[in-house]
Symmetry: C2
Subunit: 209 residues, 2 copies
């Protein structure tokens, strides 16, 4: 599949792009600025320029699936949480629908399905992610939503725990999150489902089989 | 009608409470703290304590209609824009539905129906208001959404311009906004409609007749 990665320059996004190649998909890395292009082109990855706060329609041309992995990050204000994490995601869903892209995989966040339970400093972020996830669920697109626990930069282990709902939070390397998202892209059982995800014992390639 | 005013202690909210009395409705002023109670009780207005970020379920008991006029204001961060303006409104719609309250009047903001057109510093706010308005529209409640132009503290004139869509922005005294919201509460033609509102020539009490 030709897969548009929104937020390709992010920490999870980069892993997603290269995992897509590994799984024999054709990634298209959406990046915000020209300086972000060479790192992908040098590895033979197609790129497309797009800005979630402005225009990124052309990115959806000839795409079979979308993985949304963009986020405004911890160094910007909550205004960007609305404009990127919430509205950027909602616009991506709208565009995917408009362009007939069927498959949409969303990188969400642990507790985005129950934002009221989050720590007070995180609540606004969790509500923003929640609204985006709800929008996707009601869009009619064939979706998979993944809510990982605390992200680390540790090397991936290839083993995780994936469940529709977990009570115990945990951590997970970004690399394992990326591999799980890419794997689930082609798993029929994951269609129109939402999952919590942390590190665990199960090999990613045996999930939901 | 017994009308719950959410955000009764706000600048528009206070006008709404006293306009409701003037129109022979029975206002219930929802306030966040006990210090906000006397100003209403001294005028014979019932109050109920409720916090949009915590619990306010009890406020909906025995209520015929809701006017949502709460806002986090310009002195707080965008995290509060999410938690109050967006999520407080969405929760209010959910609660109104849950408690069988039929009529819901929303104080929105000019350009909340086209947030992408707003000035860059306002966009996150307009998107938050937009999401709340969209949630209300799809709730099944009998709604009226009013998007006033720039709010002033000038005395009300009793005359406005109300249209489903306006191209030219303008100002309007908070008192006139409040009177329009209260008036539209009982106007069948305003049910399930959204309007822009600025100062104008038409007497409020002749709108939509």
């Amino acid at each position: 599949m030709r897969v548009l990665v929104i937020g390709a320059n992010g920490k999870v996004g980069k892993h997603i792009v290269f995992k897509l190649k590994k799984f024999d998909h054709e990634p298209v890395a959406m990046v915000r600025s020209t300086e972000q292009i060479p790192q992908f082109e040098e590895e033979g990855v197609a790129t497309v320029l797009g800005n979630l706060e402005k225009d990124f329609e052309s990115a959806f041309y000839n795409v079979d699936a979308v993985i949304f992995a963009a986020g405004s990050g911890p160094d910007t204000g909550a205004d960007k949480t609305i404009l990127i994490d919430q509205e950027g995601a909602i616009k991506s869903v709208e565009r995917a629908k408009h362009f007939g892209v069927q498959r949409f995989v969303m990188l969400s966040s642990m507790a985005a399905d129950r934002p009221e339970s989050g720590p007070s400093g995180m609540k606004h972020y969790l509500y923003a992610k929640h609204r985006a996830d709800e929008y996707l669920k009601q869009s009619g697109l064939n979706y998979t939503i993944v809510r990982p626990g605390g992200l680390t930069n540790n090397e991936g282990t290839g083993r995780v725990k994936l469940q529709e709902h977990m009570n115990n939070f945990g951590e997970i390397p970004r690399e394992d999150v990326a591999e799980t998202l890419v794997y689930l892209l082609s798993v029929p059982k994951a269609e129109n489902k939402s999952y919590d995800l942390i590190s665990g014992d199960q090999p990613i390639r045996e999930l939901l089989v």
